[in-house]
């Protein structure tokens, strides 16, 4: 878009020359952005490109060091998120901003609960919550449910409903669909398109290119804290856009898969008739060494439970687990980690299950491997240091030093630390629970290559992902789960988007009950 055009339309919101530094790190440098009413504006960039900082400044979470913001042509400054909300800017954060112990309705109305005689009017609040949930297309969520009892995908829908309840003029969605199921994404897209037609300005941040292609009117690409390009959606090809984002050529996202014949090895991990209440039913599978097996299907069909069951977290499972062909009772994660099975689980929620955020990179890395680097209970600092250096190099973890708290790293680098932590134990079986959620393209690419390298050196890999592209690109085989059962096994060339979606909805098995999902 030309300068003349921008001046002619006079945007709803404008940001000029905004810079922000954290210590010595420049998070944002001289950023410009024009947001127009009735448009969906996509913001693209790798993690660490400055997108999060940009949003935080717009949402009043942090203040800019330099530059100015204009709303309706008037200069504005926000001292707090509440001030930004009052000005009509609502944000759906990637790091969920919901309060776990409060109910869905409490959360939706949290910014300004309806009051009668000075006290919160719970009936009015309930009505607001129901309306907001309906607007977001999430009527299935009960307003009285506690947020902490909801799965991640439902919480994300609540987050969207909460933003809508504040009746914003500008709605910012930061990776808002990263945990959503395909069905929810479709609903959210319909909502966003309706909001656009109602004249809202939407700022949409996502790593998923096809989402941006479907939604965006305008795109702005950020790299290293600067906006490198703004253009009308559809005027650049995906690979051109990705090249702008990473600043280098984008090819071979997924490493090549080996020939099937090459991996006809005996199974390393096997389970037979595994069951857990009504969440897992009669699951039998095997993963050979050197093989990457994907778990597909809609979110919440038992994939996560299956990984937890194999890792010894769940109690009361039925059926049997075999390691290298011999039965093994995995009673706890400690047993799963032990040398015979040498299992590692890369969790989905790195903040609570994978890392101790206030502790340093070094401490986090060495926890899982302390017994590998200690003699007689004393930690051998030299051996520890060597192992850690090796991992930081192998995974290209970007950190200012090993003694920096993990919480200070970007999301992609945090996830690398989680993975490094487990790789230090030299696992023979690796379970991954949607490990690339909310991670930028560059890091994802590194992660795919790492997975394949691990498999090549003999690990058996079981990989759950909500991203169909990943399953197609990374896996030798994919098992599709539906309602706690394996409903389909896809192999080699049969792993296509169409086959994955069809079997995830359980529509091609002849019976029609699955279509209700």
């Amino acid at each position: 878009m030309t300068t003349a055009e921008i001046q002619a339309t006079s945007p709803l919101f404008r940001m000029e020359g905004v810079s922000k530094r954290y210590g010595g790190v420049r998070a944002l440098e001289n950023a410009k952005l024009d947001v127009e009413a009735g448009h969906i504006h996509a913001i693209l960039g790798e993690n660490g490109a400055g997108k999060s900082t940009l949003i935080k400044i717009m949402a009043g979470v942090v203040a800019a060091d330099e530059g100015r913001m204009l709303l309706d042509g008037r200069e504005i400054t926000f001292r707090s998120p509440a001030a930004a909300a009052a000005a009509g800017i609502a944000c759906v954060f990637q790091e969920l901003s919901l309060i776990p112990d409060l109910s869905v309705a409490d959360n939706i109305a949290i910014a300004d609960p309806p009051r009668r005689f000075g006290l919160i009017d719970r009936r009015a609040q309930r009505a607001i919550a129901e309306e907001a949930l309906a607007r977001a297309g999430a009527e299935d969520i009960h307003p009285r449910a506690a947020v902490k009892d909801l799965p991640l995908s439902r919480r994300q829908m609540v987050e969207i409903a909460k933003a809508l309840a504040s009746k914003p003029r500008i709605l910012i969605l930061d990776e808002a669909t990263s945990a959503l199921t395909a069905g929810d994404v479709a609903k959210v897209f319909a909502v966003l398109k309706r909001l656009r037609s109602e004249g809202l300005a939407l700022l949409y941040i996502s790593h998923r290119m096809h989402e941006i292609a479907e939604l965006a009117d305008t795109c702005t690409v950020f790299r290293n804290g600067r906006n490198v390009a703004s253009f009308r959606a559809g005027t650049r090809s995906s690979s051109e856009v990705v090249e702008m984002m990473i600043g280098r050529e984008y090819s071979n996202v997924f490493p090549p898969k080996p020939q099937r014949a090459a991996i006809a090895k005996p199974p390393r991990l096997e389970c037979r008739n595994l069951g857990w209440g009504d969440r897992l039913r009669d699951i039998s599978l095997s993963v050979a060494e050197g093989e990457v097996v994907g778990l597909g299907g809609l979110d919440g069909q038992g994939q996560r439970d299956l990984l937890l069951a194999l890792f010894g977290v769940l109690r009361g499972t039925t059926g049997s687990v075999l390691i290298d062909g011999a039965p093994m009772a995995i009673a706890s994660p400690a047993v799963a980690r032990a040398s015979r099975s040498a299992m590692a689980l890369i969790p989905e929620d790195r903040k609570t299950e994978g890392l101790m955020l206030p502790m340093t990179v070094r401490e986090n890395l060495s926890f899982a491997a302390l017994d590998h680097v200690s003699r007689g209970g004393i930690i051998d600092r030299t051996a520890e240091g060597q192992l850690i250096d090796e991992m930081v190099r192998l995974l290209a973890i970007k950190t200012a030093g090993l003694d920096v708290p993990v919480g200070a790293l970007s999301g992609g680098n945090q996830q690398k630390v989680v993975i490094a932590k487990w790789l230090m134990r030299k696992p023979r079986i690796v379970l991954l629970n949607d490990p690339t959620r909310g991670i930028d393209v560059g890091t994802k690419q590194e992660m795919y290559q790492l997975l394949r390298r691990l498999a090549d050196v003999g690990a058996a890999i079981l990989f759950y992902s909500t991203d169909y592209d990943e399953l197609i690109g990374c896996c030798d085989r994919v098992l599709v789960l539906y309602d706690g059962r394996i409903v389909r096994e896809l192999e080699g060339r049969d792993i296509t988007e169409h086959a994955l979606i069809a079997s995830a909805l359980n529509v091609d098995s002849g019976d029609r009950e699955g279509t209700a999902a």
Binding site: I99, D101, I110, K162
Partner: protein, 326 residues
Amino acid sequence: MSEWRYWLNEQRGTLMGLAIFLLMFAVYIANHPAGLTANVAQTAANKGVLFAFVAMAQTLVVITAGIDLSVGMIFILTNCLASWIVVGEPLPTALGVVAVLMAGMVCGAINGLLVIYGRLQPIVATIATGAVYFGLALLLRPFPGGSVNEDLADALTGRLFGVIPSSLVALAAAVLLVWLPFRRSRLGRAAYAAGSSEQAAFMSGVPIRRGKFAAYTLAGLLAAMGGLFLTFFTYTGEAAYASGSGYTLWSIAAVVLGGVSLYGGRGSAVGAIFGAFAARTTGDMLFVFDVDPLWQPLLQGVVLMIAVSIGSIALLRVRNRLDWFQ
């Protein structure tokens, strides 16, 4: 899930506190030589109410993910203050009551300011202020003594209509006039939100500071109500250090028994009241079983351990072990 299941889920901690109390109280009454008479109920109520006020105070702070180790000392300080000024004609007495309650609120507000604006850890801030409050109590009453308006004291520790302990009515009034409005107010919700996830609360534009300040201040008010009742109950003021510390520590046990999460964000002062009565009953139980006084502290600890364990029985049924850590 239907509506009542959600309600049950919300009230689980409180109901567990009630169940533990009823169980212990039933054992106590069954073994009491006199059974459940109005007199026995009145005595149990009066002793329990002191605890209940302090536990309610503790609840407010614990909800914000803090802890108030000065709560027992505010209780003692207001007792000493009341033994000076809640005396004489009805009007001076009433003014005295108001002044005592205000003093409690000021103590709580100081705690709040230190924690919120001084950014001190609640545990350290309140150890320090607790020592100060006790020091003030000692200056007010170097020796036990003083007096209180006995008409008022007798009215509030006696019985209504011959059966209902009036201290329970006063406690119910505190629930209705302090706790419920707090819980239903925007500030109360801010206190819960701050305790549950301060970061998310900040992102959501919740008035975190005001919510926490209200919680600490009202905690001081409730502790002062307890201090008043201690005065009505004993007719004197006494700067008893052991008593203050004991109330502080037992108030923490009481909130846990009542289903209030020490991690913040979850629980109700009503649950803490049941927890306080249950904790109180552990002491009385030893009396009806005629236990050698030498054994009492040990056995009281054992009973408390059992009671707290009942509350965590639900964890045995957890089938996904990650739920243990929530």
